[in-house]
Symmetry: C2
Subunit: 402 residues, 2 copies
């Protein structure tokens, strides 16, 4: 049962009043975080700024063991529990924007919108704290301020700290400059790919050929780099949703007859859980004969990383219902699948939930990408995000309580 | 006019007597050098051993300015002058032979036979010194003990020190385990390829694509590595004798959106002087559109190294005449072309000469390659080499004087 439209309309009035009061201060909060970005597991100041605001709202945040990130329950403190996740870390980039809130750190920048995510979950929490103070929340809404999303390791810290204990549903949003402010992108099933690491190490056997000449190591490694992704595509088929992209390679100077070594490392992205399970075997079945073709010995390491982000359908429906109510049905769009990787998938392995794409581009502005030093948002997205997450949490709680 | 067979037969008697006296001591000399190998421009001890023996033979060697390598004139001290070249440096390898004269240096080994070349030119010089003492040399035979052949830089030192001044012809031999002792390999024209360096540096333009995603640098570099040599082969044709072999590559981790860089370095070998002249332009004409295909920017550096070793026909004929006389006509073979590179080609740019391949494999033994820690020779090759070079020098002098 999805929360009635009338109920959503009722909360919306309260949200409007809250935002009238707080939105300027929340913009300031976002700009302060933007000016002071911190990389993964270094978010000490960011965490202090968050917990101070939460405490000002009468809440009792718990900082995670490493001192970065926090968990904060809002409501009765009892079940049902619904979680909202924000990621709080910045990227190792130089901020290139000529704005007053430009990053003051030379090599850190909120170029992925985590400052917005943090502000949105904080704002939703402040609003919900208001409601909770008036005993109008039937259950608990857990705010997860997660460190180190960019390294895809922070979610594990939150889980280890008990962040998912008794959580029935979990939601998050991510800034998306391919959407205008006021648009929302949703998708049931795989919305973001799994992200695994692959490492190929090759050596040339000594005296491989008659006369002792070594095979051409650099050429062999380059053949593996170019042929392996293509063979995976041919073997798995164009719909296998298996992508191998190389990130670095190294094959040092080949001494006269030593035993030269070449290394290439890449990322395997996959939207399909079954295909992903078979990926190491599939890659090895291409790599090993390919290596034999070029007379080198190949060794494969495959390290599973974050799983795909698999949105659960009833959670996507809650997002859709709320989004339609606050934005209009025609502004809730079907999000495309992405290969970018997000450790939100780790939460979804044990708790049903959904990841939504929040429009952040000013209307009329042309589309641009995340992860650039010029990345910025139309701050109107902050109110949209707060409305969306606060109402989604309340709606999900109502569904759990019914 | 080639020296008469009768004259050669006459010298051969003297050579037999010389070798009966000296060959054991020359084997000892070779083994001492083999036990104490020195890398390019570090051949201080080797140079001292050489000059000591030359002085003992009544000669006056001049050490090169860097203290390694020597030049020593034998004969009247006047023209005509004919030069014999030995290369004296070792390879950075571990000697793997279980022999009494195994290298005592952990990372140096005479695995290319330069100890034999040195001994052969020394032996020829000692024999010629005997003749000179009896005023039986009409002109001068210049012994060039050249350092640092493996780095292809030593010949320049010899030239800079005046080693080629007034030289009319120049000859050298190189150990070749594909031939048995008593066989000789000769070829007119290009016998060894030019050896140049090529370096490709690629960068990805920032925000190359809509959305700011960088092109795949590693893939682009691997495509250049695999496609460039093939395209050269297709463009130049299979007979263009242009070979590009990569030696190292590096494309470090690709940071989120920086400006990643990839490098690959290789060696261009070419037997044809005209094709070699066009090589940089030909490579660029393949590289630049290939780079555009993969959305990277490519920069090409082409550094000309040693030229091809181009044997002059009348010098080859002298070698052939002498070789036929001392070994039998059926043991003088046509040597195949090699891509390995030798800085003897530098001398041949200003002086006509010839480079011959000296059989060093024991009869019945199977063929093997140079540049391995197990490389060794049948020491009987030393006598053959001395006979060959001494008679070739005398024959060449006779031709110049006639």
């Amino acid at each position: 049962m999805v929360m009635k439209r009338e109920l959503i309309a009722d909360w919306m009035g309260e949200l409007d009043a809250f935002l009238d009061r707080e939105v300027t201060s929340l913009y300031d909060f976002r700009r302060d975080i933007h000016m002071n970005p911190e990389l993964g597991f270094q978010e000490f100041r960011t965490t202090r700024q968050i917990t101070k605001r939460l405490e000002d709202a009468g809440l009792v945040p718990k900082v995670l063991p490493k001192g970065t990130g926090a968990i904060c329950d809002v409501g009765t403190g009892e079940g049902p529990i619904v979680a909202l996740r924000a990621d709080i870390d910045a990227l190792p980039l130089t901020d290139e924007k000529p704005v007053s809130y430009r990053s003051t750190a030379p090599d850190a920048c909120h170029a992925c919108g985590h400052d917005v995510h943090t502000t949105v979950v904080l704002g939703a929490g402040m609003f919900l704290a208001d409601l909770a103070a008036r005993n109008r929340i039937a259950g608990t809404i857990r705010l997860l301020f997660q460190p180190a999303e960019e390294s895809l390791l922070g979610a594990l810290e939150v889980v280890a700290a008990g962040g998912l204990a008794d959580v029935r549903r979990i939601f998050t949003i991510h800034c998306d400059p391919s959407y205008e402010v006021g648009q929302l992108g949703l998708r049931t099933g795989a919305i973001i790919a799994a992200c695994d690491k692959v490492r190929v190490h090759i050596t040339t056997p000594v005296a491989a050929r008659n006369g002792g000449e070594s095979p051409e190591l650099v050429h062999a490694l380059a053949k593996i780099i170019t042929e392996l992704p293509e063979a995976l595509y041919r073997r798995g088929g164009p719909m296998s949703s298996l992508s191998l992209v190389w990130g670095m390679m190294d094959a040092g100077p080949v001494a006269h007859p030593g035993r030269p070594v070449g290394i290439v490392e890449g990322t395997v992205r996959c939207l399909d859980t079954e295909v992903r399970k078979q990926a190491p075997e599939l890659i090895a079945s291409v790599l090993l004969p390919l290596a034999r073709t070029y007379e080198v010995e190949a060794n494969l390491e495959y390290v599973y990383g974050v799983p795909p982000t698999l949105n659960e359908s009833s959670c996507v429906n809650i997002f859709r219902e709320v989004g339609s109510a606050i934005l209009g049905r025609d502004r809730v769009l079907t999000a495309p699948q992405s290969l970018e990787g997000d450790d939100f998938g780790i939460y979804l392995q044990s708790v049903p939930g959904a990841y939504a794409r929040l429009g952040v581009r000013s209307p009329g502005q042309s589309a641009y990408g995340l992860h650039q030093g010029t990345f910025d948002v139309d701050e109107a997205c902050i109110s949209v995000g707060i409305r969306l997450l606060a109402l989604t949490a309340l709606s999900a709680l109502a569904r759990e309580s019914s």
